[in-house]
Symmetry: C2
DNA sequence: CGACATGTTCAAAGCGGTTTGAGGCGATTC
DNA sequence: GAATCGCCTCAAACCGCTTTGAACATGTCG
């Protein structure tokens, strides 16, 4: 069923039917209802390609997810972010397209996305500290919003990010307040911007309290469970082991907990743990009392905000770039306590 | 840059340029290279909407993810599945579009997807035991492949699934062989087809070995960590607690492990655990020796297979429905051991 | 009663590609 | 030298929609 057939069926011109369906004023009220009913009954829906071609708008947003061959991990955060964004897209009648790109030919990829014309805007995931994609995209002229941000970039661009520095600074200070002096940092890959910022927060807190940073208490890698286990095990085996851990992901924190148990220790009696918690739907940090004390920020909410921001930019092309900084909550769970005297 | 401009730039007709780009034989070799080079240099890419309109093919596959408001969980398996599927799409030049649908107006949704014409085929996720979507989609005439399957459906349709029944039957038998008599099943929602089948496997193994099923040793819910913890804690508090658990997801298994520790027990000394393991990139079950003994089947691989199957069906419309049953491997990890005499 | 709004409908021209059927051109054949 | 044959290239139609500019009733006013 296409417009032509629908029009013929109604003994109307395509013009009139199109106008009736799209809410233009110059259509008789009765005609409009007649058209709408027929469209419903014959379940007609305009062909998106034809509509896009005619209007010049794709009514679709692209999500670009980096997934290199080396560490071909799909960010576990991704599902929830997309779910949040999708809520906004559905409201606005937009579709969502996904492209996983190898970071080798990424520029080429963006250029194609634009040339092919099947998206009106992009959400960029997983920004690195100095991310060449961003200046490139600014030059490309396709509206985009970054989930996260890149450091040291002169030009303004739109992003939605968590205040990672502050979150980790607060968490570190909280541990210091509890009497912990040796605090292990089990971070993500530090060329990723979020991990870099968390590291800065951790460093700043130590410095502010006059504690010397110890490289042996810092790890950085892809945030898996085995990584959390391995890094924490290594640190716990040191001469002066940490009495607390600050972890960048709930999944790694689970590995840290495993390491603590494997070392014959108890959490939080012997070792405290604070983790970042993206509030993922399938990885709830305890239903009522959180298992882990955590810096929490909903990634689903971030998805909603980023999508709304992008849609606004598409609707008002002149609009200047906008930033949205979310503050993580420091929520108290069952994984932190005073530093044990024996281990200070 | 569009075809017209490119053709003008080259002093050729649109036809010739189009043919040159699409590899038709009736183009002079020199002309073709000239065209290809110019396209590259001016980075021309055909507009996907126009191309789609002209050819009648969208060159895109839709993934439909159910996400009801009640249990608005995004399946954690999703990211990896999509990554696998994407590998195939990229090879074949297809795009991927995502739609999260509330299961209320799902049929309406599929109908629109077809009418709008922006996908050539669908991947259906998360089938329930009796899933009305499948007969509906067969009627709709849009090629589709189900990730998983639905029970009790007369008509043939294409699916890719793990042999859940056999996997859980084998796992249960393995536990029985180790001397376990009381085995707790911590399953997903049993109206989901995969969970139903796992339950059948568990039941069959008990029956075959003459063990009476005990409803108190069976739980079924959304597979989160806290659920694993709560269900296992409850079972461990019984008069006759289980000496082993069979768990439907690695995430829930982590909760089960926590419950075991919280009860002052050791895994596997006091309690054994086998879990299903989707081999997710961010949730590796140990780097070398697996932490958990598991029924393992790569969901990323399933994504690849499902995508390839769907593309084949699109390429050859007459092709009969095809099924692909993956066998899960039973991999031995550090979470299983003989049943302790004290607890039999 | 003609002029003029007003409200409603229409035919036709794009949007950017693909594809059909026809035409131009140099080489080969009679 | 004319006819024929390939090989390339072209103009034009078409895909399904939006949108412009014009046409057509109908009613209103001077």
């Amino acid at each position: 069923m296409n417009l032509k057939q629908l029009a013929a069926h109604l003994n109307l011109s395509q013009t009139t039917v199109s106008r009736a369906l799209n809410g233009y004023p110059e259509v008789n009220k009765d005609t409009r209802t007649r058209v709408l009913e027929a469209a419903q009954a014959l379940n007609y829906a305009p062909n998106a390609r034809a509509k896009g071609l005619a209007t010049g708008r794709a009514m679709a947003i692209g999500h670009v997810i980096p997934s290199s061959k080396q560490h071909e991990m799909v960010n576990p955060v991704f599902g929830d972010f997309v779910a949040g964004a999708s809520e906004e897209y559905v409201k606005a009648g937009y579709d969502m397209t996904l492209s996983l790109t190898d970071d080798r030919d990424e520029e080429e990829n963006y250029r194609r996305l634009k040339a092919k014309g099947n998206v009106d805007g992009l959400i960029v995931h997983g920004p690195k500290m100095a991310d060449a994609r961003i200046p490139f995209l600014i030059g490309l002229g396709l509206p985009f919003v970054v989930h996260g941000r890149a450091s040291d970039l002169a030009q303004p661009y739109s992003w939605v990010d968590v205040n990672n520095t502050r979150a980790f600074r607060r968490a570190t200070e909280f541990l210091i307040d509890l009497g912990h002096q040796r605090i292990g940092l089990i971070n993500g890959l530090e060329f990723m911007d979020f991990a870099h910022r968390r590291r800065m927060g951790y460093d700043a807190a130590l410095a502010a309290r006059g504690l010397a940073p110890d490289p042996r208490l810092m790890a950085s890698d892809e945030m898996t469970e085995p990584y959390g286990f391995a890094a924490a095990s290594r640190m716990l085996a040191l001469d002066q082991p940490p009495s607390a851990f600050l972890v960048s992901s709930l999944i790694s924190a689970i590995g840290v907990r495993r390491a603590i148990h494997a070392a014959g220790l108890e959490m939080p009696r012997d070792v405290s743990v604070i983790t970042h918690d993206d509030d993922l739907s399938y990885l709830r940090n305890g239903p009522d009392v959180p298992v882990f004390t955590a810096t929490r920020s909903s990634v689903r909410e971030a998805g909603r905000i980023a999508a709304a921001l992008l849609l606004r930019h598409i609707a008002e092309p002149g609009r200047p770039a906008e930033q949205h900084l979310l503050e993580a909550q420091l929520i108290l769970g069952a994984s932190t306590g005073p530093a044990p005297l024996s281990r200070i």
